[in-house]
Symmetry: C2
Subunit: 211 residues, 2 copies
């Protein structure tokens, strides 16, 4: 069996194979890095046609990470996928309450999803933070309600929930009406690795903290 | 904002929206459940054209889970995505060594990926177990080598690594030459949620263990 076993070479070739899909598209250098990571995470070049990056998103995320902002996410798979070591160098932590018993109780009592209950519980803790929704449209809808009705102000939102019920609508709402810079993917596609790959692309651009 | 907040209703509608994509395709009832979960996890009906299910895969996985078999996976995101509570009722645990320091050292010494080194370390522990590869083609290549050269015998393999370097080839190899029943996805697409959704679909078919 002859195949490439060196991780750096796999990485280099992957990015070289992805590059042609982005030729001639309207992305700047930083945006190319983000979209490449997304295509890499999904094995799906079609993402190039659906990723939407707010012009202030990269700068807002970088500034937030550098000042030690935390990350709030909807599901554990997003938390698992995020490079926590580099984030921690800047002082940031990743939070997820989907498995919290109090959140499960709140969700059951109110007949809502656990990720919605989790975001309701986060509330103003998300002010100045980065929010990453990789799975649940209801979490993104609830975030939007918190922004509109309770003046919650995240520094930047990665909103890429996946699925056939509410995902496309929740992301359209984010792109049209968010008061925070965002990165999203139009349509049904998305998921935890997409959210994590976007966050990690932002983190790689900043790099590890100098000693 | 008017959207569906009840998780059971979201689930029901999602599956109803996915069903038409599978009409007229050559899947039996159990296979439809698996493919539906995959489409749901990716938000991408195109998976219906690429999922390959060995005729003995469902039965082999069910038998293994019922007798308390463990699950070995390549990355933490797969472990995170698997419904560990139901699995544990049958006595099964989920293993992942990607973050193990000894595995990192082995990988560095040998110039191979950490997931390859992890699978080499698992070795015969995978006999009779379920293996789930959701990210790294090199893990699937190494599993195949272990099966061929060292007679490692998993009960069933979920092989859905993602990407542009080796993913399609490793999955083609699995479908053509595996000595264990498998579920895979042809081409570049795949990923941790795909691996987890396949495993969870198998688990849902069995259901929780009777008291």
């Amino acid at each position: 069996m002859d195949y490439i076993k060196d991780p750096h070479e796999i990485e280099r070739r992957s990015m070289a194979l992805i590059a042609p899909y982005l030729t001639g598209m309207d992305f700047d250098e930083q945006q190319v890095k983000i979209v490449s990571r997304v295509i890499h995470a999904a094995g799906d070049p079609d993402y190039a046609n659906h990723v939407q990056i707010h012009p202030d998103a990269v700068e807002a995320a970088s500034a937030a990470i550098r000042r030690g902002a935390d990350v709030y996410c909807d599901v554990e798979m997003v938390r698992t996928g995020i490079s926590k070591k580099t984030l921690a160098q800047y002082g940031g932590q990743v939070h997820c309450l989907i498995a919290d018993p109090a959140v499960a109780l709140l969700a059951k009592e109110q007949g809502i999803t656990r990720s919605m209950a989790a975001f309701r519980t986060f509330g103003h803790k998300m002010d100045g933070a980065i929010v990453a929704v990789g799975n649940a449209p209801t979490a993104l809808f609830e975030l939007f309600r918190l922004m509109q009705e309770e003046n919650v102000r995240p520094a930047m939102v990665i909103g890429v929930p996946v699925g056939f019920v509410g995902a496309a609508e929740s992301k359209e709402m984010l792109a049209e009406k968010s008061n925070a810079p965002y990165i999203t993917v139009q349509g049904n596609k998305g998921g935890s690795p997409i959210a994590a790959s976007i966050f990690n692309a932002l983190l790689y651009m900043i790099g590890p903290k100098a000693e």
